[in-house]
Amino acid sequence: MPSLQTFTRPERPRLKVVLLFAVLALLALPFADLGMADHNPWPVVGRMALGFLQPDFSAVDAIGTAIWLTICFAVAGVALGGAVGLCLAPFYHLRPVRWLCIALRSVHELFWALMLMQILGIAPATGVLAIALPYMGIFAKVFSELLEEADQRPSEALAPKVDALSRFLFARAPLALSAMTSYTLYRLECALRSSAVLGFIGLPTLGFQLDSFFQVGDYGAASAIMICYVALIASMRIWMRVRLAPLWLLAAIVTLARYDSLPMGPGALMRFLTQDIVPAPLRHGWDFAALLDWLRPLVFDQAVPGLWATLLVAQIALALTGILAFGAFGSLVPRVTPRPLRWLGHIVLVILRSFPEYMLAYLFLQVFGPSMLPAVLALALHNGAIIAHLLGRQGETMVPGLRADAPSGLSLWGFEIAPRLSGSFLALCLYRWEIILRETAVMGLLGVATLGFFIDSAVQELRLDRALILLIATGLMTAGIDSLSRVLRRRIGGPNSSRHRADCC
């Protein structure tokens, strides 16, 4: 009798993860408010389309100023964040430093700006710090990883008694310098987006100008400013050279220093620290019962519903991101898609990548009216475009290495490219999970009932103590999802994270 060969069922951790997220998104759908209410989008769409087809550059002064200030905030924020991050990087293995950095980067730039405004007002320092503070945490983490990945042998070959600073400057920093420089350039691109978005809450950057054009229905000017913005981001590698960086920084500092802002009254910082953010029942002494009474509605009526809405939007957006990215990346790969269509694909993806989620959501809000739909669409389009772009680039490098008699078109995509990139795809999606969540929370500022909505309301009512508790809840959620995503990434055994790190904003 022939021996029965037993096949063990293959472990398919990737499939399990995909199914898990698909099911989560489907479960979330019925609870999410994705309707358009009684909103008829077509008149707005018509006017917008007309405006966008006829960009009006006549408001060149306002557009120029907004773009220049957007650059200034970004450059100054990255310079400060990078400098402090570099100083923290060698100490990142120490627990207090690591926790400080995690806390700094778990709070979104817009939330930082909201809180900083309470101390500094609408001032240049608010914008610069709002970018610099979270970026410090990110730079410290990434720089420490880059230093660790760099060749350790020169440092080991130094005499044992060489002091730590000389060892760092001679035998550690030079080896990671080029990787750190290119990461910093990449971060500047992220900062240009952050800086533009800061305008939506009142800083004088691009978002502010865009908002004012929309308020008066000047879609031609809005179109012009968005065209300039895409051009600005797409051309960054041309105008931002490492050698020119000091000049850009100097120009940014001079511009921001000359910028007039309303001074805050004296003692704003002390009042903020010793009163505003102290829970109301504790301001006149310790009262545990009162604290609980204060905390209970805050947690159950704000934090929990906010978290719930944030998770709903994020999970649906993540699933849609995956579908869009997986469906779209083939359009960038040679031998799958003919050249003219590939160009079209690149252009569409560049535009979607250039606009931050928040700005896209703002646009969709004008069209669809207030619901979770604009947020979901914006998150999925932006993040899907990023993942598709990265996968497309990997696919491009893969094609020349394929066997000569490989098929082309959809068959090539289905049999050769997509299976090989599925691990990468999943790792990228998991990587962006945390980012999507961060952005979802902040979209509350646009009126979607995610955590940001409650934080914004608390700030508007000047109840900063409540805002702080909600911010902490948001930070914990982000940090929690970050570590969960890391666990899943390790389990699916995809490509290691450092390869994807450079493309995460």
């Binding site: 042998r153 020169p154 005499a159 044992p160 600073l165 000389s166 400057l169 001679f170 080896l175 310098l177």
Partner: protein, 220 residues
């Protein structure tokens, strides 16, 4: 007088023993050469001796992979042999700017290895042989009681190799090197140490080491 002494120690990477119960001593004034097939444990013994001696004496090291910083200039890499002689602020200054006399001082060491024209060049632009000579210049610049070198002339031709070994012996009282060139080793060593099969197989002056012993060392 003994610089280093291993008394029955077992050496290895992590849990894996490479050399068992090593009996080895290094005295001042000796020029000891380690011989053996690659992977036999020469580097293990060298690094053990380096750790032991560098805790108390000034020791110059030429690692097998050179351990240079490719992004820095040749001059800076040579200077790295002496970082522990100066305070951090001084090193920071020399990283940014070298004075005329400092430049001249570094040039003198580069002259010894035949690289004097390359001082301002970045190390990443050099050939393999040139990199090795930068590593040697770094060790010469450091100076000290002992030179530990792991295949310090493997990337240069025979004539240059002999000249460089002569330089090292002229500048260092005591040297401990691993070499794969047996002829070179016989010519310059005061003691030959053969390593194979996880142990020291012979340890004697070159005149007392037979060709048969060497053939046995390199045989499978």
């Amino acid at each position: 007088m003994s610089l280093a002494r291993l008394d029955g120690e077992t050496l290895g990477y992590g849990q894996r023993p490479v050399l068992r119960e090593v009996q080895f001593a290094l005295s001042r004034g000796e020029h000891v050469v380690l011989l053996g097939r690659s992977g036999a444990g020469k580097s293990t013994l060298l690094s053990r001796v380096y750790t032991q001696t560098s805790a108390t004496d000034r020791v110059a090291l030429v690692p097998q992979d050179h351990a240079l910083v490719p992004q820095l200039s040749v001059a800076r890499n040579v200077l790295m042999g002496r970082l522990d002689d100066h305070a951090a602020w001084h090193n920071l200054r020399t990283l940014v700017w070298l004075s005329g006399p400092e430049r001249e001082g570094i040039r003198a060491y580069l002259d010894l290895v035949g690289l004097s024209d390359l001082a301002p060049r970045k190390v990443e632009a050099l050939s393999g042989g040139q990199k090795q000579r930068v590593a040697l210049a770094r060790a010469l610049c450091r100076g000290g009681a002992l030179l530990v070198g792991d295949e310090p002339v493997s990337a240069v031709d025979e004539t240059q190799g002999a000249a460089l070994i002569e330089q090292l012996q002229a500048r260092f009282d005591t040297t401990l090197t691993a070499l794969h060139d047996v002829g070179l080793a016989r010519r310059y060593a005061t003691r030959l140490v053969g390593i194979g099969r996880g142990a020291i197989l012979f340890d004697a002056p070159p005149s007392e080491v037979s060709d048969a012993q060497l053939a046995d060392l390199y045989a499978a």
